[in-house]
Symmetry: C3
Subunit: 347 residues, 3 copies
């Protein structure tokens, strides 16, 4: 069951231009278009009359015409014209979804419209953020979104999956990820996971030359319904041991990167993964280096996860086996289950 009362990333704002844009989200067919004023509208992509897709229709000013038999719908979903029929029952309508564009992302609310609360939109530092340079990325998965979520919640996989990309082909860099202990904290609508790499070799994308070492602080929040906000900071060796347990460093790092990601279920077996990953400041050239690295690394994830999905589907009776490394996925599963239960009671 998908969480309904949440903002899902439907796409990057730049994906929605002057054409009708159909997207499948949480197994629902939705069509997006912009009004003459540029307001993004999201509606059920299904004419109630004979169930033709409105995305095969035509934008007429602020409204959307079904091009099968000509019904015309206003942005709020109400039908305002039925050819050959004078009166229009209020029941002739399509569902309209609240949409807000923020941080370069089009967020859609999948629950009851009256519950939509824009303070729940995460603090996503997207392509329009002044402090970071990032190229918006997208990857399509043939896998359930839960498998992607679990991948992000346990970064120890970097040791193996990303030996070639984030590890730069150096096992001492990548495999150091497997053994760093993590601190897991439950936060509002999610979990926070933090780890220190003490005196570790710096990842190659942060250091032009190899052989440099540092104390690496890595912290991420994973939030309902699938938002991943991660920062990585490198400090001089010795920084970590001067801090009290659980204390975050307050000094300026030698180097840092930030990545914002969102996983959106399309169907039960397809998902969309949106990501921005880039360096500080206005640095389009380095942003491209980060983007290329992200594509390489996230393709490694995708191939593993899609193969995992195939194995799962070949025998759905097999259960996963929790290990010590699964602390964060397990903690998040608890947060999710509690919220799902609350929605079920509410419904």
């Amino acid at each position: 069951m998908y969480i309904r009362n949440a903002w899902y990333a439907a796409g990057w704002c730049r994906d929605f231009g002057t054409e009708l844009e159909p997207r499948m989200l949480l197994n629902e067919r939705i069509v997006f278009y912009r009004t003459t004023a540029g307001q993004l509208v999201a509606q059920e992509d299904r004419c109630p009359h004979r169930l033709a897709p409105l995305s095969s229709g035509r934008i007429e000013g602020d409204n959307l015409r079904c091009m099968y038999h000509g019904l015309l719908f206003a942005p709020d979903g109400q039908c305002i014209k039925i050819p050959g029929q004078a009166s229009i029952p209020a029941t002739v309508c399509v569902r309209a979804y609240p949409v807000i564009e923020r941080h370069g992302v089009a967020w859609i609310w999948m629950g009851e419209a009256k519950e939509a609360n824009d303070s729940l939109i995460p603090d996503f530092q997207g392509p329009d953020h002044p402090d970071w340079s990032m190229i918006p990325g997208r990857m399509d998965y043939r896998a359930n979104y839960q498998l992607i979520k679990d991948n992000l919640l346990d970064l120890s996989h970097i040791a193996w999956v990303h030996a070639a990309s984030f590890g730069g082909g150096d096992a001492t860099v990548s495999e150091s990820w497997a053994d760093m202990p993590v601190t897991i904290t439950t936060i509002d609508r999610g979990v926070r996971v933090q780890r220190w790499g003490i005196d570790v070799p710096m990842p190659p994308y942060m250091a032009a030359s190899t052989g440099l070492r540092g104390d690496m602080f890595n912290s991420y929040d994973f939030l309902i319904p699938g938002i991943f906000l991660l920062k990585t900071m490198i400090f001089p060796v010795g920084t970590a041991k001067e801090l009290k347990d659980g204390e975050e460093p307050r000094i300026k790092p030698i180097f840092q990167s930030f990545t914002c990601q969102a996983v959106t279920p399309l169907t039960d077996r397809t998902s969309c993964y949106f990501f921005g990953f880039g360096p500080e400041g206005d640095n389009p050239e380095l942003a491209k280096v980060y983007y290329d690295l992200a594509i390489a690394a996230f393709t490694e994830d995708r191939l593993m996860i899609e193969a995992q999905q195939e194995v799962i589907d070949s025998d759905p009776s097999r259960r996963m086996l929790p290990l010590a490394m699964d602390g964060a996925p397990r903690r998040y599963a608890g947060v999710l289950a509690k919220m799902q239960k609350a929605e079920a009671v509410h419904a």
Copy 2:
């Protein structure tokens, strides 16, 4: 449930040559071949022995040999040779279907053979008709035949779907279709739908120059199991108002066209659409113009209907919503339901 006691269009006669021709019809695998005398034979495409397809077999004179283990079948479906076995039980046979070739179409009877009645073959004016020029056309659909049937039963869709083709890109031509009132009559095994377009712009395929106006009389019969017979006639402006209510014009039209079409279910999600559409008289050049126009227009239908089928299949719990424009589909649904009920009682 498909109507069984009816003649379905299996194909154009010219489709059936000297080779075995397998066709799926109403979810049944059928193989067609011609005897030495040219008689078209239709049999179940499944050897009763080990269920191999007879369409992978060999025509031997008037008979059909299964090329897996050599059983030989006569045109009536009876097995007449089993290699290595002297006696042939009468139970070793395949179903044979009555087939009649008429109007350039191969009609197949899907019910009990003893019920087959050739007077039920519709008055299809096919490619061999002396008064019309038409090129036989065929289009394959990934959709249930009911969606195609409903499309044909409500021509108000011409206003939207065929704005570019039949409307010639002129909204005043195409959208005039949305508002013409129709007269619906129940006839034997079907419905008749008639409409007048009063002082409307002539469709471009009927008038070489634009700007001409006329009174358009449009009348079609839609018959069990999926036969569509439509004539369109253009008269001088003023003709319509001189006629009594429901009266058909008896004067010669300025221009007229005729189209015969047949929708045949192949499986529950595939259908075949046969059509002839052409001008009067012996006019192969204009027939080609009509044929090209039909391909363009029926492709518009096909894209819409296949998209509609996808939307329906993505959530089969959604029901269609009847509107005023659905009078003819609703009337025909009643005729069909009554006939289905009669067949169910009979069975």
Copy 3:
């Protein structure tokens, strides 16, 4: 239900090199690799932790590393390393399958490992046999293995399916197969089928020139779980009638060929067919002729059987109709059913 206590052909030995080799067998995902000493290992291709495929992993010496989260497995299937976790429960393991390489084939035991008995490996005369020249062949089927088994158990199909290949296009050669009576004997774990072709034209692949005739003795064993061992011998005309009923000829044939084949179920709708078919002695040139003939003939089988599978799947309610020619398939079905019943009781 598949027989479990049997050796299935997983592949030719030469298929398994230094890379991980995933194969689906009896609906189970299995990964093969060789240890440093060259020993072939077969394990469940599914990490118990998060169900990722081990075939996306890495061979490390004699062990196999899951490259999702780094679990390391020994050849016996036991996990010997879990990153970030000191103790390893014995339950963290994958299933390991007994494998024996013999006669050029990698045989895998699909039942309980403790029941594995290498004396049950059939006397397959494979590519490494000193007395025969054969090129190992493989063909993939989109069909259940039972259909292939039944094809091999009734060679009367040669008359029709292989008119062009084994019959060399001469119906007097191929159709002679349809009427030869067969002797069927139940043997240990299978059936033996023998036939004499008395004064028949020699198959073209045995005689360079046409028109030669002989007495052909054809004998094959079909064994659980899908092993086919066939020899064909040509004797001077008159040889057969001098023998007592059921007696095998002891004189040296004019010509003989041998073929060993194995049918392995991959899934319920896919199968793998391994074959060696060649002449006596060290004759690589003639072995190539036989190989090409086998590919041509077995492609004829494959096309027929895949078409048969499609017909079956289009209406699973239809039953096959046993005829006189089905003696051997019927006898083998009895052997198989008895063994399936014994395994079911045992399980």
